[in-house]
């Protein structure tokens, strides 16, 4: 028997769901607002929470992190309005297990609940996320914590996994974490980069060939599928897999058998597949560029990695983690960072995600030289400009007053330029060569700018 909590301001929804839950032999409780629902969730360890989005005292989505942070971390099923795909997407992004429309049938509700409870049972019976070996993965945000749960689930399974997410979100690290925590850890983790392989070479690289199989095949070659025997094959950029190979690979996935080019008999390979992409495979399938049957096979388990801008809780944690790594590499103590530095990191949108953050930190450490603290001026110029522009666009009302008329774009730019130069001079101790390196402004141009603003340096 499981414990289910329903938080919805609609009494009819509460009653209907309570009845359905009770019919399945579970214990149900309900609350009509967040103010009473959240304390109830804290006091009693619920397995699943049905949560409405539009509540009289707040947005249900904002309550997800609070519920997930509870010691028993219940699975959350969001109840959305009819035909609200944005709400459904938001729910998943916020770490909900699934969503249901208010118009869902009893069968649909039971199915979603059963799947959530089954997942929870597997999670509790198996490996705890705390014991996962997670090299380089940082998860403080509810979204990434939800991903960790899926990684733990995937590590216990043999099913193919599809990892999606923008460039730089750490798809390969997640694939490696699944492998390292699985029963195949003693086997190889074989990477197939579908984007790197020229189409003419792809089949031979994947499946191998016998000597003389084609012009230039002077020696036999074992393919990566064979090399992956007993281990995991990580197929990166799977959306780039040539269409003719999609068909062949689907069969290999189904049968575990493959035929090297030029060989008359088939060979077998026992591998586990993890695929990754930053492309929309559903759209590709709809356009006929990716096989739907292969997509179906790949997606036995799906893990979506949220972009860094959607999980700001992880930014400073990642920063500390990577500063420690950089320091270890350099044989030095990790650098501290100023509150302003942290503010800029938090304000930036990180289109290149974690990979871009790591590069920015490496650049900052290099720019800091012998300094003991990282300052905004040490960050790459594009990040500083972004922060400066955001700050200006956020504060137009404050700048406009009868005493201080709203500055023109030219004035604002001049002002920012002067502030930036003063900061660069301060950080470089007035040394112009150092300031030039820090700011990536050539020395002649720096002289010119300082003259323009009536500033002076040395050297």
């Amino acid at each position: 028997m499981a414990r289910i909590l329903i938080i919805d301001d609609d009494q009819l929804v509460c009653d209907t769901l309570s009845d359905l839950v009770a019919l399945k032999g579970h214990e149900a409780a309900s609350a009509r607002d967040l103010g009473s629902g959240l304390p109830l969730a804290r006091d009693k360890a619920f397995d699943v929470v049905f949560l409405d989005v539009r509540m009289p005292d707040g947005n249900g989505l904002e309550a997800i992190p609070l519920l997930k942070a509870l010691s028993n971390s219940p699975e959350i099923i969001i109840i959305t309005g009819f035909g609200d795909p944005d709400g459904a997407e938001l729910a998943i992004k916020h770490g909900a297990w699934d969503y249901l429309e208010k118009s869902a049938t009893a069968q649909e509700i039971n199915l979603v609940l059963a799947r959530a409870l089954q997942y929870r049972q597997g999670k509790q019976a198996g490996q705890d996320t705390a014991s996962l070996q997670l090299e380089g993965l940082v998860a403080k945000s509810p979204q990434m914590k939800a991903s960790l749960e899926l990684i733990a689930l995937a590590a216990r399974s043999e099913a193919p996994v599809l990892i999606t997410g923008e460039t730089g979100t750490g798809k390969e690290l997640v694939a490696l974490a699944i492998h390292n925590n699985s029963s195949r850890v003693k086997g190889s983790f074989v990477v197939i980069d579908c984007a790197a392989l020229p189409p003419t070479l792809a089949e031979s690289v994947l499946f191998g060939h016998v000597k003389g199989a084609f012009t230039g095949a002077e020696r036999a070659r074992d393919g990566l599928v064979k090399q992956g025997h007993g281990g995991t094959i990580f197929m990166d950029e799977v959306g780039e897999l040539p269409e003719n190979l999609q068909r062949i690979f689907l069969r290999v996935l189904e049968t575990g058998r493959f035929r090297p080019i030029g060989m008359s008999q088939e060979l077998s390979s026992d591998f586990r597949l993890i695929a990754a992409t930053n492309r929309d495979l559903d759209q590709m399938a709809a356009q006929g560029h990716f096989r739907e049957d292969l997509l179906f096979r790949l997606r036995s388990l799906s893990i979506h990695l949220p972009p860094l801008r959607q999980r700001p809780e992880d930014i400073l944690e990642l920063t500390s983690h990577h500063l420690r790594k950089i320091a270890t590499r350099r044989g030095q103590a990790p650098l501290d960072f100023s509150p302003e530095f942290a503010r800029l990191l938090m304000a930036y949108s990180w289109p290149g995600n974690v990979r871009e953050l790591i590069h920015a930190l490496e650049r900052a450490v290099a720019a800091a030289g012998e300094g003991s603290e990282l300052l905004p001026v040490h960050l790459p110029i594009n990040i500083r400009i972004f922060a400066a522009r955001s700050a200006i666009s956020r504060e137009p009302a404050a700048a406009a007053s009868p005493e201080q008329p709203f500055p023109t774009w030219r004035e604002a730019k001049q002002d920012l330029e002067a502030k930036y130069l003063r900061q660069a001079l301060a950080v470089s101790g007035g040394n112009l060569k150092k300031a030039s390196l820090l700011t990536e402004i050539s020395l002649p141009r720096l002289y010119e700018l300082l003259r323009k603003h009536g500033l002076k340096g040395q050297g």
């Binding site: 790197a196 020229p198 020696r219 074992d222 990566l224 990166d236 790594k325 350099r330 490496e362 450490v365």
Partner: protein, 131 residues
């Protein structure tokens, strides 16, 4: 033309080395090419905080050299690795995957493939670096 900051590691300045370099230059990637002849030199280049290579063609001379590369944990530097093995024994091949190479081939194979893959990697991942 694609931007690539590419390093070739090969302790032995042999024919193989010249073939790889010629192929890479032939694909228009010679601009950012640097050759390292020792593990120490490779480590120094990879530890640069800015302007570090985003792609590495590694040609370990023997099993010990391969183990040295694995111990360097090149994956932490986020460089995309193309591996050219001189050894063909299954054990060395299995170990080689610890480097998570984006392409793996053998020294007695068609080294033209290395240059083509390097070009593809440079094209696909050209926007993935932030130097």
């Amino acid at each position: 033309m694609f931007r690539a900051n590419l390093i070739v590691y090969n302790k032995l300045p042999d024919q193989l080395d010249q073939e790889i370099e010629a192929g890479i230059i032939g694909q228009g990637l010679g601009g950012g090419l640097k050759v390292c002849r020792s593990m120490q030199e490779l480590r120094m280049v990879m530890e640069e905080d800015a302007g570090r290579p985003n792609m590495a063609v590694l040609v370990p001379s023997d099993r010990e050299d391969l183990e040295g590369l694995i111990a360097m944990r090149l994956g932490d530097w986020q460089a995309r690795i193309i591996l050219v093995l001189r050894q063909k024994d299954p054990e060395a091949l299995a170990r080689a995957h610890a480097l998570r190479p984006r392409f793996l081939t053998f020294a007695d194979g068609d080294l033209g493939e290395v240059a083509i893959v390097a070009r593809n990697l440079a094209r696909v991942y050209q926007n993935h670096t932030y130097h």
